[in-house]
Symmetry: none
Subunit: 320 residues, 2 copies
DNA sequence: CAATACCGGACAGATTCCGCCCGGATGAGG
DNA sequence: CCTCATCCGGGCGGAATCTGTCCGGTATTG
């Protein structure tokens, strides 16, 4: 930043983000000396912007609480980021229940942009193709999402109404440890009071969420992502499967996502335990991995692997 | 007025009063030279304020028509969509060169939200985890992106400066047919005048883009995504492979991305033609797909499939 | 009291700003 | 096409403002 004008207004932007800032903090962010920050604060005051200063321990600068904000001004880069973000969020299934939120947000943002920039962004949206797959959204209600987020942040229990996959509705008391967005779906994981265990719920199946009294502690080292993904892997599919893969744990972890099953390092390789709906699919997966392996169970899987081998031989010998 | 900052902002206030102003008029009001007024107008533009200029008789400066609209009013859903969109765009590698655009955009949007909603959105951002991988961004310059988008939209040729992967810079004349965002990278594909063929370029390797004279037509049925992906797939791997899959084109397209190879519907199924580096890997892929198939070529692939079948038999018969 | 954090004058050197000059581009109206 | 009015922006030398440093001082909290 070469111009003092821009730096003074950058200070204004930082302060407008809210909260308080020490002079040392601001100096670091603006890349100037502390004395210069103090001068800038005085400049803002000269311009009629109410910068409040507090001396002493825990002191710093902030804007006066009631200060009225100017209209939104986005740079070209920021506008493009917002619009592309809305496209990305829609494609990822991140959009929430009132399905047109991304479209209407795009329209509103566009209206406060200069006409030339809006037209260029229109051209961009018209001409760009994305290769990532579009997720079918399973959006939660916005209120459910925000209540759970606040409760997780402040470690406050909630009461939720939940409809399970086979349609049974009920109320649950939950200590929400964290939220996870995975493959187009929102999940909350935490301590389920009724089950006295950690449970994971899909947010699109949660009707209402209401904070309740109390506070909870998150268990040390708890990782919401791991919990949700391993919970997804523990679906009660028809078959339990255990296979010894003749490779390293590192290699296995690189090729097999946690959502597929549990990998355990053992002396002869890595044990993969999981549940699957169809054993022929499991046979195909194992063939596709490329490592040799030993089947612990079920025995039926051995038959499926044999059948796949026979089919491959047929293919290799067909034609000429 | 002693400070340039104050004078620049005084210009903004005059323009915000509405209507148009000549440079001479503004110079008189601000007590500066006309050249200085023109500099101030450029400063405001740098700060993201849309000052529009009109040359010639009856010309002058004014603010862009939409600039004086009331402040942006977003619903809760829309605000969440925008903020989550910015997060998604960052993770997908969609953000552009001036790296902090998503962060500063988030801050600006947050500033025009009610404090309560802003706090709830903060909680959401603090507590949510995403499982999708974070792409390392290879961002193009915003100007390059927007110029190419407009040129593609209006079917107008461009002149680009391009640095190839081994570092050779040069200028190219291009008819941009479309833009594609794939796996964290921006691509433009179109007719390369110098090569007299369709070529694909990565936008992060394009230094500048400038529209040139003329118009072009896009070939009928041209699909930018297919072109970019098949270009990526056309890497000179060691082996050419052709396999007849005993399934439908629709099923094949669902399981085999275009980046893998070309799918062609034929009377007995779907022909997959592609190039691969390792035939044993190809054998594994075919086994993993689960359909029966016939190998056209190479003959060596038949040996690899036989070897895989043998390995599967060994696995199925091992243990008990 | 100790530690932390804002305050602001003064000075020399650094950086940015400014008026002036001027050839050039643009656009409306005759 | 021409005329007139108006914006455009690089370059230069001098003027104005900015900046870091130094430092003694005030304010606030535990």
């Amino acid at each position: 930043m070469t111009r003092p004008t821009a730096r003074v207004l950058a200070l204004l932007e930082i302060l407008q983000a809210g909260g308080g800032f020490t002079v040392a903090d601001l100096a670091g962010r603006l890349g100037v000396d502390e004395r210069t920050v103090r001068r800038y604060a005085a400049h803002l005051a000269d311009l009629g912007i109410p910068v409040e200063a507090r001396r002493g321990r825990y002191g710093g600068y902030r804007l006066a609480p009631g200060y009225k904000l100017p209209p939104l001004m986005l740079t070209d880069e920021e506008a493009v980021a917002v619009v592309l973000g809305l496209v990305a969020a829609t494609r990822a299934g991140l959009v929430t229940a009132e399905g047109a939120a991304a479209e209407s947000a795009t329209a509103k943002i566009r209206r406060v942009l200069p006409a030339v920039l809006a037209r260029r962004i229109d051209s961009l949206l018209d001409t760009v193709d994305f290769t990532a797959p579009v997720r079918k959204p399973a959006p939660p209600g916005i209120e459910v999402l925000l209540v759970l987020a606040e409760a997780a942040r402040h470690q406050q229990p909630v009461s939720i109404t939940y409809t399970s996959w086979h349609g049974r509705a009920g109320e649950r008391q939950l200590d929400p440890y964290g939220l996870v967005f995975h493959a187009g779906r929102w999940y909350v994981t935490g301590h389920d009071h009724d089950r006295r265990a950690v449970r994971t719920f899909r947010l699109d199946r949660i009707g209402t969420a209401r904070p309740t009294q109390g506070r909870f502690d998150i268990p040390a080292g708890f990782d919401p992502t791991t919990q949700v993904l391993s919970g997804l892997a523990a679906v009660p599919y028809a078959h339990e499967m255990s296979v010894l893969l003749h490779t390293s744990l590192e290699q296995a972890q690189r090729r097999i996502p946690p959502s597929v099953g549990t990998l355990t390092e053992v002396p002869d390789g890595v044990r993969l335990t999981t549940r699957v709906e169809r054993l022929d699919g499991a046979a195909q997966m194992l063939a596709g991995l490329g490592w040799s392996f030993t089947i612990d169970r079920p025995d039926e899987l051995k038959n499926k692997v044999r059948a796949l081998a026979a089919r491959l031989l047929t293919a290799a010998n067909a034609g000429g």
